[in-house]
């Protein structure tokens, strides 16, 4: 009969759980809360050896319900979570971390900080791998909050500094925040992962105190360590740092070249193209053309006026100078079978003209040069432009007609 009781209990427990789940998925938080109150009983008579303990289920569901329940407040949430912490020793750190996130999202920064400090001092037997990771995260978030405190002090100091006022205690406090933040942040960014937020803060701290070498090293490591994921932001941060440092064009270009290699569709490709176009070296101008063509391959760039004007300008330059026509030819060769349908269809000509005149102009320049004056896109847009008596369209028509012999050599 004990067995039967256990069996019945398991069954009713499962049924109760599915009721809660159902209510939650239908956003019936009050109903879910009532069922959960019954489910709590399962904690007392926990016969199971399930992988997911009832305490974890109660924590997860309870937290979710309390987040949405119309009558819940942060106080109740806190007391619920505190109880949950004592139940689930195995998940203590995770619960602490989640509690912190909840407090942070509700703007309770000080409470969150206290919570993190408490979690950091928690010791219970040997740490599992997951717990070790959670500990490092707790430390990092504490470092992040230290950094925000440092920022606050810094701003006070900068404001007062302008008035010629100096406060030693504020400055000391700021320095102590810096030390705490730096110590806490530098740990996690050594481990492979996506740590954009932490890296940015740490580099900011280092730069403020003039430790540029360390900052550069951190950023290089973050961008180029092969154990880290190929995060475009890592390269962006490095590029921005180099720019702030006033580094040479060459190093900026090499930083962006790598970004171009991993994400050819990155928004910085416009900067990269402008930079390369200004270069006196032929090779770099050639790369510039390649970069802008590659960016415009992507669906997300289809209506980017900036990118189209970059391409239009460069292509126009080449045509007028009649030098390096083979550059265009090479780029166009791999695209001529699909760009016309992708960019220069009649449908797009109509759409672009209606929605964005600038875009249609820039695209028409490129279309006229690459596909000649009989291209559908060019014909439609230039016709509409002339009809609307816009001067630049008339000039464009004249330009394409004038250079049609050069255009022929490309296609």
């Amino acid at each position: 009969s004990t067995h039967k009781r256990k069996l019945d209990f398991t069954k009713s427990k499962e049924a109760c759980l599915s009721y809660i789940q159902d209510a939650m998925l239908q956003k019936q938080w009050k109903r879910a809360a009532e069922f959960l109150a019954c489910y709590v009983e399962s904690l007392e008579k926990d016969f199971s050896a399930e992988p997911v303990s009832p305490s974890e289920i109660i924590w997860r569901m309870g937290a979710e319900i309390l987040c949405h329940h119309p009558q819940s407040n942060i106080k109740e949430f806190n007391s619920f979570i505190e109880q949950m912490k004592t139940f689930g020793l195995k998940r203590y750190l995770k619960i602490c971390l989640e509690h912190t996130f909840h407090l942070l999202c509700n703007g309770l920064i000080d409470e969150a900080y206290q919570n993190l400090s408490m979690a950091e001092s928690w010791r219970f037997g040997e740490c599992t791998v997951i717990q070790d990771k959670e500990k490092k995260l707790i430390q990092a978030y504490r470092g992040l909050l230290d950094y925000y405190s440092w920022c606050k002090q810094k701003n006070i100091l900068l404001e007062h500094g302008q008035d010629g006022f100096e406060d030693l205690s504020v400055e000391q406090e700021m320095h102590s925040y810096f030390r705490k933040a730096a110590v806490n942040l530098q740990e996690i960014i050594k481990i492979p992962g996506v740590w954009d937020l932490f890296v940015k803060c740490y580099v900011d701290l280092l730069e403020f105190y003039g430790d540029h070498n360390e900052a550069r090293q951190v950023l290089n490591e973050y961008a180029y360590n092969s154990k880290f994921p190929a995060n475009p932001n890592a390269h962006v941060y490095l590029y921005q740092f180099l720019k702030r440092q006033g580094e040479s064009k060459k190093s900026l270009i090499s930083a962006l070249k790598i970004l171009h290699d991993i994400v050819p569709s990155h928004e910085l490709m416009i900067d990269f193209n402008t930079m390369l176009q200004k270069s006196k070296k032929r090779k770099k101008r050639r790369l510039g053309l390649e970069v802008i063509f590659a960016a415009l391959d992507y669906a997300g760039w289809k209506e980017n006026v900036k990118a189209w004007s970059c391409l239009a300008r460069q292509v126009k330059q080449i045509i007028m100078s009649e030098k390096h026509l083979e550059w265009i030819k090479q780029e166009w060769n791999s695209r001529k079978d699909w760009w016309p349908a992708f960019h220069f269809s009649r449908y797009l000509a109509k759409k672009n003209w209606q929605e964005n005149e600038n875009l249609s102009y820039e695209k028409a320049v490129v279309a006229g040069i690459l596909l000649g004056k009989d291209c559908k896109y060019f014909k439609h847009v230039s016709h509409q432009g002339c009809k609307a008596q816009v001067k630049r369209f008339r000039m464009l028509k004249r330009f394409v007609n004038k250079h049609s012999h050069v255009c022929l050599r490309i296609s």
């Binding site: 039967k4 069996l7 759980l17 159902d22 998925l25 239908q26 956003k27 019936q28 938080w29 009050k30 109903r31 992988p51 997911v52 974890e56 924590w59 997860r60 569901m61 309870g62 937290a63 979710e64 987040c67 949405h68 329940h69 119309p70 996130f101 909840h102 942070l104 999202c105 703007g107 990092a140 492979p192 992962g193 996506v194 740590w195 954009d196 937020l197 880290f228 994921p229 190929a230 995060n231 475009p232 932001n233 962006v236 994400v263 569709s265 990155h266 928004e267 391959d297 992507y298 669906a299 997300g300 760039w301 791999s334 079978d337 699909w338 349908a341 992708f342 269809s345 449908y347 797009l348």
Partner: protein
């Protein structure tokens, strides 16, 4: 394309998944997962941090209490899909596993189901060998012991044959066995040469026989379409060995024009239309080949590898789709996703997603469905597994930008994206097949801000959920409906409808039975500061009058279609239309006294729980007569018969036939003389035309005799003397063609009526012995077969008297 300035923190670990556990309960709840510094707009509003999950989402409230049928029920033939208990033997095992009796509850069906899902290769590859001993192909009967574990295939084949002959005459117990058989056949049916199949199908079509079943049996068909290339749009249709592409003109009502069809040697597993370029598609076959198919340029093979991409886990399932770059295709198998550049597929490829620690996968997790989310963000992809759903960004491969444990009972096999505009969330619908689960997720971000899950997930109505809102049904009908509505889902779609400021999302769900149900979700614009009070405003528990009307109409059509196409689960019914015309069956003005008596008796018997041995009439009657009585009530004929049985017939007869007997006799003699003259010229064989002519003659002869009172057999006519029991004589006299004729019963019906009544004549009806041709109809427990049986017995009884 903008990339978020900062992404949510996460660890990056490489290697095979370490975490065990399977689907964790409640795993998708209660986590913010990570937080990130809020963007400038949010910071002005006072929030410093935003969570990866648990942020605010849009409110979409269901407009109805349940899903509503969009179209009348699909009337084509549908066999419910296989259930675990169909494959598994129940008898002996079931008894052993009564819950509570054994110490461990071993759910064998569930275990085997898991086995089938986790190791399909082992399960199905060796199925034949495993079941080899349980198939008996001989003709002899099985011994009792063997019967517990093996199935006689010949018997099954016979049953199928018989079923054909019976034209769907129902036998409930057969259904699971047939389903089971069809399941086993699935594997080898593919190997039937296509030409042969096509030939016989063509033949069938010519004969206008059912052929839909054959088509449905051998090929799965899927449709995909693209809408983003502007006009015109392209629609692709994939079946196992053929893929086709159609062009749909922009004009409404214009017919689509077929463009091209390709044939594959290996079944194609995926066909998608390019969202970027008109007339481009990607095809994927079960052998792991990925092609870029251009209507103009033809096929270009990008990859061919029978092995899975990241680790060995053989599965023929492959998938391909497009990416942000029109020349780059993604291809997927159960182990992950890869992107291939069509310009240099050998050299240029990168891994987008891999079942491993990079994405925080669990052991045993497999890709179930990938989908390109291009309409939400050009570089985003969705991947679902049995446990989680991931959003990936091509620009940051391997690291999911969003992950959520969906907690669905069955893996989400279908999904649909409804992109949200600027500052709006993207809506992703996830649908499972067997359980019909439907989940609405919202997420935002990808360009300016990092991806976030917006709001809690929302469960939508499933088709089967409307069962409780349908009017109460008879148990068997309810079961039928349950089976029909509970058929696994086969697809989903959604459309955003804008009606002024009000937005609604129409969600359509298709079931394997071919029914389409829809539901409407209404967008509620909430003030960001207002508390979420919408939650308890549950949709009205009863359907709206309009919905109720649709349910009723659907139900009506459904039961009608079931009557038209009798399916195996429909109880046997028979019609009497062919025996009597409506006029004949017309009820008399009010129930007769006898009727009332019978009714009373019946009621009494029911109260006492006893049998009705005999009616309250002194004459003993065979109970069969009562059974055969048409339920329509007493017509003039029945009234006559019942009066006859209650001894009042003689008087009744005289009342009814008030004309000169002598005159009649004279006229009859005249006629018989003429007939005899005519018969003399005919040959012997011609004289043996049918029992019908013989019988009419017989009754005519009996007419000649003076009408005998029932109790005096002395004046019996000579033809019938000593050979028939008195009641038979009565019948024959009663059923004389003339008397029938003057009742307005046409001649061709007279025989049937006589047959019908001859059963009454036999005090102990002979057991019907079906003729070989009728053997297949023996199962029909209807009056038709009984009358046929009685007909044969009668003719046999009468034949010796025909003078051969």
């Amino acid at each position: 394309m903008e990339f978020p300035a900062a992404l949510f923190p996460s660890y990056f670990v490489t290697g095979p998944p370490q975490e065990e556990g399977g689907p964790a309960l409640a795993a998708g709840w209660g986590e913010h997962e990570q937080v990130l510094e809020a963007g400038p707009r949010c910071r002005e509003a006072g929030t410093m941090f935003v969570p990866r999950r648990g942020g605010m989402g849009e409110s979409w409230k269901p407009a109805d209490a349940a899903a509503i049928p969009l179209l009348p029920p699909n009337t084509s033939y549908w066999v419910p899909s296989l259930e675990p208990q169909d494959i598994l033997y129940r008898g002996a095992l079931y008894k052993k596993l009564q819950p509570g009796k054994s110490a461990a509850t071993l759910d064998f069906t569930k275990q085997l189901r898991h086995f089938f899902v986790d190791h399909p290769e082992d399960a199905f590859g060796s199925m034949g060998q495993l079941l080899h001993q349980n198939f008996f192909l001989g003709n002899s009967k099985l011994k009792r012991q063997a019967r517990n574990s093996s199935i006689r295939m010949t018997a099954l084949m016979e049953e199928i044959e018989r079923l054909k002959a019976r034209r769907g005459c129902p036998e409930q117990y057969l259904v699971p066995r047939l389903r089971w058989f069809s399941h086993i056949c699935r594997d080898w049916l593919f190997e039937v040469p296509l030409g042969l199949l096509a030939d016989s199908m063509h033949e069938e079509l010519l004969l206008q026989a059912w052929s839909g079943g054959a088509l449905g049996f051998s090929q799965d068909v899927a449709i995909s379409c693209a809408v983003s290339c502007g006009l015109p749009d392209f629609v692709s249709v994939r079946s196992d060995y053929h893929c086709g592409v159609w062009r749909v003109p922009g004009r409404i009502g214009a017919a689509p024009t077929p463009l091209q069809v390709i044939r594959t040697d290996v079944p194609a597993s995926c066909l998608t239309v390019s969202p970027h370029l008109p007339g481009e598609l990607s095809v994927c076959t079960q052998s792991g080949a990925v092609y870029l198919w251009s209507v103009e340029m033809g096929l270009q093979r990008l990859r061919h590898d029978t092995q899975t991409m990241f680790f060995r886990d053989h599965s023929p399932w492959h998938w391909s789709d497009f990416t942000a770059h029109p020349r780059v295709l993604s291809c997927a198998d159960r182990t992950g996703l890869q992107c291939l550049d069509a310009r240099a597929p050998e050299r240029c490829h990168f891994d987008l997603f891999k079942v491993g620690q990079e994405a925080g996968c669990q052991q045993g997790e497999r890709v179930v469905l990938p989908m390109y989310l291009g309409r939400a963000h050009p570089s985003q992809h969705l991947v679902t597994t049995q446990f989680s759903v991931y959003v990936l960004d091509e620009r940051l491969p391997m690291v999911p930008v969003l992950k959520w444990a969906h907690m669905m009972k069955a893996p989400p096999l279908f999904s649909h994206l409804t992109p949200g505009g600027p500052r709006r969330s993207h809506k992703v619908l996830l649908g499972a097949s067997c359980t019909q689960e439907l989940l609405l997720l919202q997420y935002r971000g990808g360009s300016q801000s990092a991806c976030q899950l917006a709001g809690p997930p929302q469960k939508l109505h499933s088709i089967v959920g409307c069962l409780q809102h349908l009017p109460t049904q008879l148990p068997h009908h309810h079961h039928l409906l349950q089976q029909r509505l509970g058929a696994p889902a086969a697809g989903l779609a959604a459309a955003l409808q804008k009606d002024g400021p009000q937005e609604s999302l129409l969600v359509f769900q298709l079931s394997e039975a071919g029914d389409i149900f829809y539901q409407r979700l209404i967008h509620e614009v909430m003030e960001p500061s207002a508390p979420t009070l919408m939650d308890e405003a549950v949709a009205a528990p009863v359907p709206s009058p309009a919905a109720a009307l649709r349910y009723r109409r659907w139900l009506k059509d459904f039961s009608r279609s079931h009557r038209e196409h009798p399916q195996h689960t429909w109880p046997p019914t028979f019609s009497q239309k062919r025996i009597f015309t409506c006029r004949e069956l017309e009820m008399s003005a009010g129930p007769s006294t006898l009727h009332q008596q019978a009714r009373q008796q019946l009621r009494q018997a029911m109260q006492e729980g006893s049998y009705i041995q005999r009616w309250d009439t002194p004459l003993p009657q065979p109970p069969l007569v009562q059974l055969l009585e048409p339920p329509g009530g007493l017509d003039t004929l029945s009234a006559r018969l019942t009066t006859a049985w209650s001894e009042g017939w003689c008087q009744w007869w005289e009342e009814k036939s008030r004309y000169n007997v002598a005159q009649r006799r004279q006229a009859l003699r005249e006629r018989r003389r003429q007939q005899k003259r005519a018969r003399g010229r005919r040959s012997l064989s011609a004289s043996f035309t049918s029992s019908h002519t013989y019988q009419s003659e017989l009754s005519e002869l009996s007419d000649v005799a003076p009408l005998p009172p029932p109790v005096s057999p002395t004046v019996l006519p000579r033809e019938t003397a000593g050979s028939s029991p008195p009641s038979a004589v009565l019948d024959e006299a009663l059923l004389s063609s003339q008397s029938l004729h003057c009742r307005g019963i046409p001649k061709e019906r007279q025989k049937t009526l006589r047959d019908y009544l001859s059963v009454c004549a036999e005090e102990v009806p002979e057991p019907p012995e079906p003729l070989p041709s009728q053997a297949s109809q023996a199962c029909i427990p209807s009056s038709q077969s009984l009358s046929q049986a009685s007909c044969t017995s009668q003719s046999r009884r009468k034949r010796p008297r025909m003078g051969f």
